[in-house]
Subunit: 355 residues, 2 copies
Amino acid sequence: MQFFDKKEETRTPISDIGEFGLIEHLTKDIKTNNINTIKGIGDDAAVIDIDEKNFQVISKDLLVEGVHFDLAYTPLKHLGYKSVVVSVSDIISMYAKAQHIIVGIAISNRFTVEALDELYSGIKLACEKYNLDLIGGDTTSSSSGLMISVTAIGKVEKNKIVYRSGAKKNDLVVASGDLGAAFLGLQVLKREKNIFLQNPKVQPDLSGHDYILQRQLKPEAAERYIKILEELKIQPNSMIDVSDGLSSELIHIAKSSKVGINVYEDKIPIDHTVMNFSNDLNLNPIYCALNGGEDYEVLFTIKQDDYKKIEKDPDFTVIGYVTDESEGVNLITNDGSSHPLDAKGWDSIVKNQNT
Amino acid sequence: MQFFDKKEETRTPISDIGEFGLIEHLTKDIKTNNINTIKGIGDDAAVIDIDEKNFQVISKDLLVEGVHFDLAYTPLKHLGYKSVVVSVSDIISMYAKAQHIIVGIAISNRFTVEALDELYSGIKLACEKYNLDLIGGDTTSSSSGLMISVTAIGKVEKNKIVYRSGAKKNDLVVASGDLGAAFLGLQVLKREKNIFLQNPKVQPDLSGHDYILQRQLKPEAAERYIKILEELKIQPNSMIDVSDGLSSELIHIAKSSKVGINVYEDKIPIDHTVMNFSNDLNLNPIYCALNGGEDYEVLFTIKQDDYKKIEKDPDFTVIGYVTDESEGVNLITNDGSSHPLDAKGWDSIVKNQNT
């Protein structure tokens, strides 16, 4: 029953345009009017002019039970920690320092006070780790499941801020840390859940997977990498955090900066445990890196002159370079051939390679 | 299955301590460390020091389908509008001007692009009305239903900010506008929904209820009242917005300010349509005002010297005065007797009166 709403003339399923298409559709005609709005929708975080020297940077993330996490294998303390990290990661990828968070929680009545204590203990732990003040929130009921919304607020000197949109032709494309591990950790957890559901007496076998499980369950934001970049006196031209997968982040940078990007399959940083274990699961490790997401590394571009500063540092890997917009975003595979990347489409390349 | 979580030794249902008890429990040991954190948890909004002259004020609200709204009788455009108003109301009650919002939405796949267009058209309308920039957001899937999280950001001169905690003994307690109408609007909508469910051929009868329906479905934040107060050169000692019901807001002010409050039944401002229609529904209109909520008026206290400035203004009603903490929060009913108020307990007083 809807006795108010107009009859919808057309009914377009959201899947027709996808998540990014939907955001673009809903926000395409939004203008900003306040003079202190520096950057609205379209980057990892919004930017507000607060004083002569600094910008304020604000991000927001929602984590929804059944979509972003499964409480069957996600300890609540880890979930609390991760929910903060996810938002802080957006602040960091603007080259800013996170200072405050506001946490909203919607909970159904199946959660106990003790369960929420666990969740909050993780939130508080992340606040200690990243030196954040938890300054507010909203706690409400939900008709089903748990939903966490974290707003993170940070600060950055005006001349230091880095946007997605600053990549220049011939920039080098660099990733921190390694990629694909969080996705692989999720696969192990899902596998063990399925085994458990078939036979609840079988104890889950998670041994030997410490690294990938930690990357999935208790990720860290790339704060330490930003500190190293500052020590190396590198000011990136563009930056984004790797939350949805390398492929999607490359496309975001390319689209926002109006450039093309080539990355090399053999340069993508993969931890050796990921390399070994993905073979066991019959997954291509490059697929995990490109489409897995949740690594919370930073992906950024630097001018070629900075190459010498970064080349010997094991924290960073140059994975490609920025090209002309007309060339698009491509993966150069080990056989030298070039494959256009899209946020969903690499699946087919991997399948072709595996068969 | 939970193969990680510690076994909970005790299992305390959240209903044992209630929403406010839960928030207090979860946040009681939270300390703030950043020097620019002025006010953390415990008011309508958090307060950050941003420059020499101004504080920044940030609020966050979650609206959950099935808890805060029922799409059977809530037009999506109205819902979008209201979700912004709810957050802006928190900013206004700090005596601040809202400037920016960030909107997070979790949606299940039963929503179409056109439905979200409707929702966003309401959000955009509210942005125009309150001169807000929509500067960011997160759009994600949900396994069930719709969830909206709005973060609002505002600004206020440091010497103008008003907290819940500033009420002083002998202050006058004042409410803007009128109370109870939004709750009564909800009762009409629920009644018509039930009739419709029993017989879908019956058209809903909403005629004559424009005012209470508008107060429920498309409320406004109290911005215009704040402007009037400023014109009257009144600087309140304390303020809160009426989102949960007058009773609960009085208790918040009293608790934060360490004072008691007496309010008079015959002073509580009730619109004549509420007065008439609540009788039809066999509801006490004072009950609607005290426990209904969603009026988004402002409740505030002023020093007695300001009485002359406000007494003739029909926008405001003096409903009581601030007493010593030891006296508690009380409703003085028309027969002169005093009844302690709590956030839930007035039900019994009304029932006694009605029988």
